[in-house]
Structure formats: structure tokens, C-alpha cells
Subunit: 338 residues, 2 copies
Amino acid sequence: MTSITITDVAERAGVSIKTVSRVLNSEPNVREDTRAKVLGAVKVLNYRPNYAARALAGSRSYLIGLYYDNPSPSYVGEVQYGAVKACRETGHHLLVEQIDGEKDTWRTQVESLLRQVKVDGVVLSPPVCDRSPVLDVLEEQKIPFVRIAPAGDWDRGPYVYMDDKRAARDMTAYLLSLGHRRIGFVKGHPEHAATQARLAGFTQALTEAGVPLDPAYVQGGAFTFRSGFGAAERLLNLPLPPTAIFASNDEMAVGVMAVANRMQLNVPRDVSVVGFDDAPIAQSVWPQLTTVRQPVVEMAEAAAAMLIQPRASPPGTRSRMLEFALIVRGSAAPPPLA
Amino acid sequence: MTSITITDVAERAGVSIKTVSRVLNSEPNVREDTRAKVLGAVKVLNYRPNYAARALAGSRSYLIGLYYDNPSPSYVGEVQYGAVKACRETGHHLLVEQIDGEKDTWRTQVESLLRQVKVDGVVLSPPVCDRSPVLDVLEEQKIPFVRIAPAGDWDRGPYVYMDDKRAARDMTAYLLSLGHRRIGFVKGHPEHAATQARLAGFTQALTEAGVPLDPAYVQGGAFTFRSGFGAAERLLNLPLPPTAIFASNDEMAVGVMAVANRMQLNVPRDVSVVGFDDAPIAQSVWPQLTTVRQPVVEMAEAAAAMLIQPRASPPGTRSRMLEFALIVRGSAAPPPLA
DNA sequence: TTGTAAGCGTTATCAA
DNA sequence: TTGATAACGCTTACAA
């Protein structure tokens, strides 16, 4: 069961291993017919270059790292899915590492990882993309990286993101177009970058429509079901309750719906509820949630792709914005005719 | 930025590189003080062996593969989390690959992967753990593997699993202990292995308690919200509807709850609803779902650990069963006093 | 346009 | 108990 090596290919094609190497790495200066011969031999022998040897000898390893830490399992799952997809299309492989623990250990963790296995680049998923010791090491060692939806430090390397603010604005505009004028908003966790952006989009839409913003309609939340539940209780018990509630993630939106149900309020007839994220749960409630779809898989895929073909993105515009989508399902409707 | 190699360590410790290698791989025949010297040098230099060199020269690569395909993102996320955890504890790394597409391409996919990068073993997550071409290749190439919750072929290599049948039995027994006698059951997708096991556990509990099983109380489902919804409509519109419904996963249980809500039935006062899996959604509904927690993270961790330290599991007993847990939350209560 | 030879950083062989 | 030295399969100078 000895595996096929570059030597076998070279012999079969009647050339030197260097020529085979040239063909494999699409280097210039190979005659077309020579190239064809080599490719033929590769095909016949079903040759696959050994990654370890490549990594050891050369400067590339065909390995892409994915550093993550513990957001929701489904987020990680989606990121991984996108990254794997981009990798396999170009014969790369994905190495997944978790960076966790205390802040002062991050640098060491990354240094140690990098020393052990060489990667061609790393995809940084939130919240790792916002840990500056991690970025420090990567920059020092000149290892390319792309961040997914970073919360700040936008000058530190390329990133992929979506426009949270505009998405929130569009969603609010949708609610306004339905006829709502009293719209409640449930904010996210104060430490999350998206929280501010989504709130800003909400207020912008209101301003643009000339609808005054009642501060009582904006309630604090923490991206959890429970916090959405609490915020909804406050909102719906107001003397003049909102006719629609925009929770800044789906988890909280479902909490809002639960409160509505308990108060015998029919969604969307009596009150409209919309969320953000298009998490799996959005389709597992009744009515299904109208929400904003975050292109998580696509962002991860784009990030990995940028690492693999840096030439693809023109210099200067090193970051990529991906489009969100407004997913209209059944949880929002025109307000009751009061 | 030249990295520290085994040669540096050898010089610093005043021994040959072979001796350093011996210490690093805990080989025998090294004097205790020599070992200490080497370890000291490793520490001072903060040396980390280069993976590619190890893989190329030796028989081990310190890389563990995780082959998956596309179950729910959160399942993948959890599996990955457990596997990464086991890996990092022993200095291994996780290589994630997706095996997808048509059945007749699986063999080639795996062969190609294996040829490119040597792994010390692979963790097979559902549904890949049940694709026999994948197992074939692994067996042929004598690459150790551990399957997670396989659906069949229990003689093909070690696996980790949980006892679905017993879990379903326990859950049913819990409902019975609450006083329920008319219990509805929503089956899972017919092609899923767990479906049969869970139904079997349900009927077993009934039999043990001497409670007759009304066939009308067992409804088909498909592990989706919608199928749970449909099954619940049939169940709750029966002339004598059940006082409790056991949906064989959480997704369906939430569908059942949605129907109850629409029918103005209070959960759990009017009807109890329980699920299975302890998916994230179980905590994002109101009341929160009483369910069975699957030890997904632990199974993945155990699987990877078995690969890394094969000696840990005594010969013969190569598979491991992990314990489930009954998670009692608010969705089940004694039946209404009729 | 092609080939030769020297590494890359380990482990394995075999002798000391 | 230790240590030279030869692989491992590839890329990278450097020649031809």
C-alpha cells in the first residue's frame, strides 16, 4: 500500500520530478505537450500530492485555519460549513481550533498553534475576530487572515460583513409600510457590536419616515429568549402598547411572541413581531417569524475564498460586504384597525 | 523568524536529536536525568514540534479527521466542539471534511482525502457514520475510526452512542408517574435509526405499566416542526384526546405546542408536551420544554479520545455508551382532574 | 524549457 | 543508553 509519489508520476511521464512539480503548481515555462503528458500521468496514476511534504518543503501548506470560540453551536456549524465549502473547491483543508480561556493566554495559544502546524491563512470567526492579541500574532508572523463580522478595529486586515444597520432600517421600513406607527424595539446585548448598529437602523427608518420615537418603546435586551420575554412584558403593558415589535434577534422575538400568546394577543392580528438573524428557531414557531437572514455561510465561504485567492479581490477593496435578505413570513401584518 | 527546531533543543540540552525525539515521544531507554535535561531545554526554548515534519517522517500525524455531512448546523457545531476539546488536550488537531454528493462518489472522496493528508484517525458523525463505502475505505487503509451514534452495522468498528430506547422509556415512565394514562406519541422520520428506538421505548414503558396502547395515539412525523404540527392536530382533535404528548424530537414538540396554543389549550395545564434532544429551541419556548438531553458534545469528545488513546478502552469493549439526562422543565404536569 | 541537488524538521535504522 | 545518518515527498535554488 505504498502511495504514489511525485517520482512515480515523473517516471510515467518521462520527465523529472521538478517538471511535475511545475505543472502541479501551475508555474510558467512548461511546454504545452509536456504539461499534457504530466497531467495524463497524474490522471492515470490517480496521484494526489502529499500535503505534509508540501508544507515541509515549501511555503504553502494548503491548510486553512478556522479559529472560533463558542458562540451558538448553530453559528459555528454554519461558519464551518461555508469555510469547508470554499476549501474543498481548491484542494485546501480546514483545521479548526478553539481559542478560549483568559485574555492573557490568547497570544500564547495562537503562537503555539502556528508553530505546530503551518497554515496558509486563518478565518477568524466572532468573537475571536475581535481579540487583538490574536490579530497581533497573526500580523507579526505575516499570516494572512480574514475576519468575519468584526465589531471594531476595521483597519486591522480584511473582513467580510453585512450591513446590520441597513438591514434594521429596511425591516423597520417594512413595518412602517404595513401601516405601523407605534413600533417597539428590543435591543441586543450591550457588549455586542450588532446591538448599536441595529438600533441605529431602527431609529434612522423612523426619522426618515417622520415618525417620532417614543423612548418607552425602546427596551433593553440581551439576545436571549428570557430578555425578549421581559422586554415584551414591559412593552405590551404600556398604556398605549406598540402595534408591532422589532426584536433585534430571533431568540428575543420568540420571547416576545410567547408573551403575546400568554396575553391572549394573536400574532400577527393583534400585534406584529419580527426578528433578526433567521436562526433555525424562526421557522419553528407559529406563525413563522418574519426576519432578516444573515448570510453566515456565505460570509465564511467568502472569507476562506479570500484567503485562498488573494488576487481575486482587487487591492484597496480588501473587504467584502454581503447582502442580507428580508425574509417575510407570517408574523407581521398590518396593525389592527383601531 | 526562523522557528526553533529539534536541533536547537538538542544543542541546548547537549544531546543528539534522536534523544530529544525519544523524550518527546516517551520512548523507553532514556536516563532520567537526560530526560530532565531535554525537557528543560524544551521548556526554555518553548519548543513545539513541527507537525508536517512529523507526519512526513513518521507514522503518526497528530491530526484527527472529522467527517460530517450536513445534519443541523447546531449538531455539527456541538460535534465539532467536543472533538476539538479532546484533540487539544493531547496536542492533536482537528481536520474537518464534508463527505457529500452521490453515494457512488463517497469512496473516491475519502480515498482522495486520505491520500492528501495523513490522519491518525477519523471521527464519523451521522449520517456519514452509516455510509458503508466510507467505512470500507477506512478499513482497507487500516485507519482507525470511531462512529458517533450509528444507525446500524454495529460490528463495523467502535462507536459511541446513547440508549435512545431507554431514554424514551424513561420519559414515558415520567409521564405515567405524573398520572397520565392517555399519552400520544409523535414518531420521527421513518429513515432515521432513532425513530424505531424511541417508539420502542415508548411502547415498552406502556407495557411495563400495564397501560394499553391505542394505535390512534401514535402518529407519524418527520422530525420537523410542520410534521409535529400536523400530528398534534390529529391527536388533539380525537374524540378522547391524549392528556400528554411525547414528540420524539424537540422540533416536533414545539409544533405540538403551537397547535395547543391555537386551540386555546394551556400547556401544561390542559395538555403536557415533552420532546427529545434538548435542542436549543427547547429553552426558547414558553413554557420551556421537558426533554431528553443527548450528550452530543460528550459523544464527540469520547470518540476523538478513543482515537487518540486507543489503549484507554480495554479490548473487547471497544464502544462506549454515554448517559442521557431527563431534563425536567415546565411543559409537563399532572393531567387535568377530569 | 528542463533537470540536478540541496534542503525542510522530524522519525526510523542500525551501529556504538 | 545513546548517536550518526538515512529516509519521508515535496519545493527551491541553481544549472544546463
